[in-house]
Point group: C2
Chain length 450, copies 2
C-alpha cells in the first residue's frame, strides 16, 4: 500500500514528528519502563459549565490497531533522522498497555482525567497526538451538542453539519458525538451506515430550483419518496410555498400520501413559523410539523422556544459541528509517572497533578451531583469512582457499549446536574476538591525536583 492510500484515521504516522524523535532517543537509552499518561482539560471554555466525555471508542480502536505498515516504515527509514535498528524496532512496536477511562457520556470537569494510559514509555508517548485529536474533538462536540438538547426538550434535533465540519472524519464523528449528546439523528449518510445512527433529510433548494414550478417540485418529491415527505419552503417566498403545500397535502391525502412536515431555512424563523403554522392549521393540517435550520445554535433555539414559536425541530449544522463558540478544548495528555516515580510538569500556568488519579463523584440526597474529589488511584474516597478499566495488555476489556447505552448514561447524568449547571449561562464552578493525598504527592515531587 502506498503512503497516499493509507487511511489517516489508523496510520501510525498520524502523529507529531517529535514523538518519533523522542522514541529514537528512548530507544538509544533503553527507556522502556512503564509510563503513566493522563488526558484531561485544563479549564472549561467560555460558555460551558461542564464537559461530556466522548471519543473513547475511537481511541481504543486506534490503540488496538496501532502498528507501522511497510510503507510507513519505509518512509521512516528514508526520512534521515532515524537509525536502521530503530526502524527495525518500530516494525515490532504495538500497544501493550492498560487503559482506564471514564465511560463515554460521562460529565467531567477541569483537571479530571478522562483517560489514563499505563504502558511502556515509547508506546504511551507515540499515541499522544492522535489520542488528544480524538478525545478533544468528540468531547468538544458532545459538550456543545448537549447544550442544544438542554435548550430544546421534546424537540427533534438533527445534525446537519457535515459540509462545514473540518474534513471527512470530523463530519462522521460529529454525527456520533451529537447522537451521544441526545440528538435524534444526522443527515450524514456514512455516519448512519457506520454507527447505526438514524438518518434524516429530504431536499435542498437546488431540487426546487431545478423544477420550473415549485408546486410541481413538491409533488414530484412526495410521489418519489412518499414515506418521508418534508418539503423545503423558503426558496422563493415562504408563505406562498406553505399555501402550495397545503393544497398539495390535502390532495395527496386522498391517495394515502402524507406530507409530514415543512422546513424553513432563511429569514426570521420565528415569524415565518407562526405564519406557516396558521396556514397549515387553517387547512386542517395540524399534524404537519415545522422544522427550522439556517445557522441555528443553542441560544437561537432557546430564544425561539422561549418566544413560543411553533417549531417542532431543528437542523443544527455549522455551529455544532465546529463548536463555533469554543472550537477547541484546553486539554492535554501528560506524563504523571515514569519507572515507578510520580512526575510533575511545573510550566507556568500549565502545572499538572502527578501520579495515577481517580475521580470520585458524590451525589446529594436528591440524587444531584454535589461535588467531585480528585485523588490518587489507591486513595479510596466516598462516592462513585468514575474511571474504570477499558484496556488490559493492549486489548479491549469486555465489549464496546452500544451508542444507545452511552446516550442513556448521559441522559441520566443530565438529570443529576444542578439547574445552574444545566443552564446555557455561566454557572458558579462545580466543586472539584483535590484530596490531601494528591496534594501531598505533588509537594513531595516538587521537593525532589527542587
Amino acid at each position: 500500500m502506498n503512503i497516499t492510500d493509507i487511511d489517516p484515521a489508523s496510520s501510525a504516522l498520524l502523529t507529531d514528528l517529535y514523538q518519533l524523535t523522542m522514541l529514537q532517543a528512548y530507544f538509544d537509552r533503553g527507556m522502556h519502563d512503564i509510563a503513566v499518561f493522563e488526558f484531561f482539560a485544563r479549564k472549561l471554555p467560555r460558555n460551558r459549565n461542564f464537559l461530556v466525555a466522548a471519543g473513547l471508542e475511537q481511541a481504543i480502536d486506534y490503540l488496538e490497531g496501532l502498528r507501522f505498515t511497510e510503507a510507513e516504515l519505509d518512509w521512516v527509514a528514508r526520512h534521515g533522522a532515524f537509525k536502521p535498528d530503530f526502524v527495525d524496532y518500530l516494525a515490532g512496536l504495538k500497544f501493550s498497555g492498560d487503559v482506564h477511562a471514564m465511560p463515554e457520556g460521562t460529565v467531567f470537569f477541569p483537571d479530571e482525567p478522562i483517560l489514563r494510559v499505563v504502558a511502556p514509555l515509547p508506546e504511551a508517548q507515540l499515541a499522544e497526538s492522535r489520542l488528544i485529536n480524538l478525545l478533544n474533538f468528540q468531547s468538544m462536540i458532545a459538550s456543545k451538542a448537549v447544550r442544544c438538547v438542554l435548550a430544546a426538550p421534546g424537540k427533534l434535533l438533527v445534525d446537519f453539519g457535515m459540509r462545514r465540519a473540518h474534513g471527512a472524519e470530523a463530519g462522521l464523528l460529529a454525527a456520533r458525538a451529537s447522537y451521544i449528546a441526545g440528538f435524534d439523528g444526522t443527515a450524514t449518510v456514512l455516519a448512519g451506515a457506520r454507527f447505526d445512527i438514524p438518518l434524516f433529510g429530504t431536499m435542498a433548494h437546488s431540487f426546487i430550483q431545478a423544477h420550473d414550478d415549485e408546486a410541481q417540485a413538491f409533488e414530484h418529491f412526495a410521489r418519489s419518496l412518499p414515506q418521508n415527505v418534508v418539503l423545503l419552503i423558503d426558496t422563493y417566498d415562504t408563505e406562498a410555498a406553505a399555501e402550495k403545500v397545503a393544497v398539495l397535502a390535502r390532495r395527496l391525502l386522498h391517495e394515502g400520501i402524507v406530507v409530514h412536515g415543512v422546513r424553513i431555512d432563511s429569514g426570521d424563523l420565528g415569524e415565518h413559523a407562526r405564519k406557516v403554522r396558521k396556514i397549515l392549521d387553517d387547512n386542517d393540517l395540524r399534524k404537519v410539523t415545522i422544522f427550522a435550520s439556517s445557522s441555528v445554535d443553542e441560544r437561537k433555539i432557546q430564544a425561539l422556544l422561549q418566544d413560543a414559536c411553533p417549531l417542532d425541530g431543528f437542523g443544527v449544522g455549522t455551529h455544532m459541528d465546529t463548536s463555533s463558540d469554543a472550537p477547541y478544548l484546553d486539554c492535554a495528555y501528560k506524563l504523571q509517572e515514569y519507572a515507578g516515580r510520580a512526575r510533575r510538569k511545573r510550566s507556568e500556568g500549565k502545572a499538572t497533578w502527578p501520579g495515577r488519579k481517580q475521580v470520585y463523584r458524590q451525589l446529594d440526597a436528591q440524587g444531584r451531583m454535589r461535588g467531585d474529589i480528585l485523588t490518587l488511584e489507591q486513595d479510596v474516597q466516598e462516592g462513585v469512582p468514575l474511571l474504570g478499566p477499558v484496556m488490559r495488555g493492549g486489548r479491549r476489556v469486555g465489549t464496546a457499549p452500544s451508542l444507545a447505552s452511552v446516550r442513556a448514561r448521559l441522559r441520566q447524568e443530565m438529570g443529576q446536574l444542578g439547574d445552574a449547571l444545566r443552564s446555557l449561562d455561566q454557572a458558579p464552578a462545580y466543586p472539584v476538591t483535590v484530596s490531601p493525598a494528591l496534594r501531598g504527592l505533588a509537594e513531595e515531587v516538587d521537593q525532589k525536583m527542587a
Copy 2:
C-alpha cells in the same frame, strides 16, 4: 470491503441523505439535464479582509474517484427509501462533468465563485456536501494561516495543530493549507509523508520529565538526534534550563554537535525570550535560535514582534488548525443553471447570482489589486479571468500543480494586495463590481419566476 473499513475521504456515502433522496426523485422524473453549480462565500468572516482558495486538488480527486462500492450499494438498497432500479442506476454513476476553478492560492472575495461544476444534475448534486466540506476547510485554514505569515515576515512558522484539529483529515489538510499559505512546514508526520511538506519537531515535556535530570535529558536528545537539536526549556524553570543548555552547547560544540535552538512553551513568551537570549549571547551562543509555541496566533505573534522580542520562529497550533476566531466560512454550493436556463435562489439574506460566472481581476499601474468584476462567463471584461478549466468529461485537465507553485502564486498575490488588506485589522471592503450583464440576467430570472 465492510462499510466500517471505507475511508470516509473517498466514500460516496460521505454526503447528506437529502442528496440521495433528491437523486431518487431526479431518477424517477428523468431529470438528467446539465446543471451548473458554483461554490462561493457569501461574506467574509469577522477578522478577514480576503480569503485564499484552497482544497481544489482534493476536490478534483474526490470527483475523479466518485462511485458507489458494493458495500455502499448494499447499504442504500437496505435503507428502505430507495427503489431497486435506482440502486442499479447508482452502481453505474460516476462524475462525467466539467469543472472550472480558481487555482489554489488565489485570493478571493464574497460572491466570487472559486469552483463551477457543469454536469448532469444528479452528479453535480451528489457531490455538493463533500465539495463544500473540502473547499470550506482548506480555504478557511489558508485564509487564517496567511495572516500569521503576514504578521511574521522572515520568521520560521510551523504548523503544530494536529492534536486539536477536528479529526484526522483536518490535521492532515491543515498542514497542507498552511504550507500553501507560506508556513515553512508542519509537525504532522503523515502530512509530510503524503504531501512532501518539510517536517519539524524535537521533544515534548514528557521527554524531560521521563529523565531524572533535565540537563541529562537535553544531552541524551542531542546525542541521539545530533542533526536537529532544539531543546524544550520550560518544563520546570525556563532561565535555569537556558543556563543548562548554554553549558551543554559549549561542551557539545567540541564534539561537533551543534545545538540549533531552544523552544519556550509557557509563561510570558516575550519576557522569557529576552532573558534566554541574554543567557545564550553571554555564552557566545548567538546562533542558537529561540522558538515559541503555547497558544500563539497572528495577533500574539504580531504583538511579540512589534515589541522587538528576540524570537526566531513560532509553532502555531490550535488557533490555526481550528481557525479559532472564524471556524467556518459562510459559503455555499448553489444551482445557477439547469437545462439551459439560469436559476436563482431568492431566500431572504441568501439570494444568489444566477448563471455561469467569471471573475476578472484588475491591477493598477503599481501592480496592486484595484478591483474585481463579477460577470457572466461569456461577457469578457478587462483584467485577468480567475477561473479556468480543471476537469473535462470527468477527468483532470493537465497535471496537478506542485505545492511549491501554489505557494509561489499566493506569495505573488500577497505582493499585489493593498496595505490595508494585508493588515490584520479590518480594511475597507475590496471593490467587487457586479457587471450589467449579470444584473440583467438576475432581473430576467426574477421576472420569469414572478
